[in-house]
Symmetry: C2
Subunit: 115 residues, 2 copies
DNA sequence: GTAATTGTCAACCTAAAGGTTGAATATTAT
DNA sequence: ATAATATTCAACCTTTAGGTTGACAATTAC
């Protein structure tokens, strides 16, 4: 059996950004900076509750943080977390390169059967 | 209303890689190169059919390509497509940077109230 | 030609995702 | 005190996701 990296976090993160509305929210937050839930909801043709839920998903993926002051919740993007995804993509590419390099070597000295 | 970039493709791609098994399949394919469906399925504690489905999802996201020769289907990773995701992350970060720079400027010459 | 192999397709099941609406909870304004 | 505002919670609905099993179709091996 293949070893599953314990990557629930990565799954959560990628699932979070795989939704158009949530990606849009992150863009919005990156442009506008810290925002209230109601403000964010204003941009979308969707109930406040739906947006509230989306924000919670982003929060669990640690893509945003929340600071509650009185009755208003201030939401802020946390782009740090995105590195997790980027790292995975980079790793995958390097695995790919590795194989190609090995192949290349094998082609060059087709006689020497090592490994 | 916020403008949704027509990014169904990106959503499909991110959704595809948000699943652990499918990420693992991509890793496998990057390491082993072109593989048959049955070979891939061998690594997982899951029915062949399930893996077949996963591969179809990857295929629709254009993360893998398929070449059918006789009864066997040869699957190959297509890392090109991953750039789509990477671009989105980069864009997001630059949007973020942009705002921070503006803020910075505003702080420096707090008098000049333009924009 | 009969049997085995490689895959998909279709039907089904269960759980999760994305929305809705209607309270409920806290906080602030009048 | 009462009303308005900001948000979440809970219950519900519908669609999608991920898995299973059982046929089926095509190709290859004996």
């Amino acid at each position: 059996m293949v070893e599953y990296k314990s990557d629930e976090n990565l799954s959560r993160l990628l699932k979070a950004v795989s939704d158009t509305t949530r990606r849009s929210l992150l863009t919005q937050l990156s442009q506008q900076g810290v925002s209230r839930v109601t403000d964010l909801a204003g941009y979308y043709d969707m109930s406040l509750n739906a947006i509230s839920k989306h924000i919670k998903v982003l929060e669990k993926a640690e893509l945003v943080t929340r600071k509650t002051i009185g009755r208003t919740h201030w939401i802020e993007a946390n782009l740090e977390q995105i590195k997790l995804a980027e790292n995975w993509f980079m790793e995958l590419k390097s695995i790919w390169e590795l194989r190609l390099n090995k192949l290349d070597e094998l082609m060059k000295n087709g006689d020497a059967s090592d490994d």
